[in-house]
Symmetry: C2
Subunit: 147 residues, 2 copies
């Protein structure tokens, strides 16, 4: 079997295990927090890029401005998001997470990290070292093809 084929197969196996686990965890997280998928998407977006506008959110989620506005409204009511006027353009609002919103998303990230740490512990130092090198390469390649 060619190395390319072999690598594709191995990647597919990994995807399957990884995705299944990620989806399960994510679903549990949504249930625990009582938040929907669109709501989570907004919060995660704000977690990674601060100070974006309502239209930015809509564009990123692939929905209308009206939908984005409604979604944000709900999250403001829940105390996870705050809106402030953009000083440079008073039509626009700059959105950001409240401390509560930030804590919420960090909890989700921590849960994932704990799983990844458990994974690391199951391996010998030599294996860990090799995986670090391998995944660094892979991540770089993925970022390069990713656009």
């Amino acid at each position: 079997m060619s190395p390319e084929k072999q690598l594709t197969d191995v990647l597919r196996d990994w995807s399957e295990v990884f995705m299944r686990r990620s989806m399960t965890d994510f679903k549990r997280f949504m249930t625990e927090t009582g938040l929907s998928f669109p709501q989570m998407s907004v919060l995660m977006r704000l977690f990674h890029s601060h100070h974006c506008s309502v239209s930015d959110v809509g564009t990123q989620l692939g929905v209308s401005n009206a939908a984005a506005s409604q979604l944000v409204h709900g999250l403001v009511q829940m105390g996870y998001v705050e809106r402030e006027e953009d000083p440079h353009d008073r039509r626009a609002k700059r959105l950001s997470l409240t401390p509560a919103g930030r804590v919420l998303i960090e909890q989700g990230i921590d849960a994932r990290s704990r799983w990844l740490e458990g994974l690391a512990e199951a391996l010998t130092p030599e294996q860990q070292q090799m995986i670090i090198t391998a995944l660094t390469l892979l991540t770089k390649a993925a970022r390069a093809t990713g656009r």
Copy 2:
């Protein structure tokens, strides 16, 4: 930095890139096919495990039997799923994909494979070999902690 910490960081980076790409692709696939997330979940479930029942589907999706039945009904109407009586228990239905349903999911898998192949091509044979070894270890570890 300790190797464990380093590995966790690298894994987190890789996860992020991988998840972002996977989600984007999946969303596009749903748009193209006009199918919803629950519908996709059912089809993928049937793709991987043949001949499961309506209640199986409901349990796996975390919804009631009634919801599962409605979901399946829609997919039968669309020609992606077929129901047949279980010969051992005539109350139950054995669900399976029609050829059209199978082709649909295979298209999704192929799209993903093409990305993975592109990834492989960007790497030297030595790098590929190392990544194969690394991912095999990682997948095994993930399967072990995954339950």
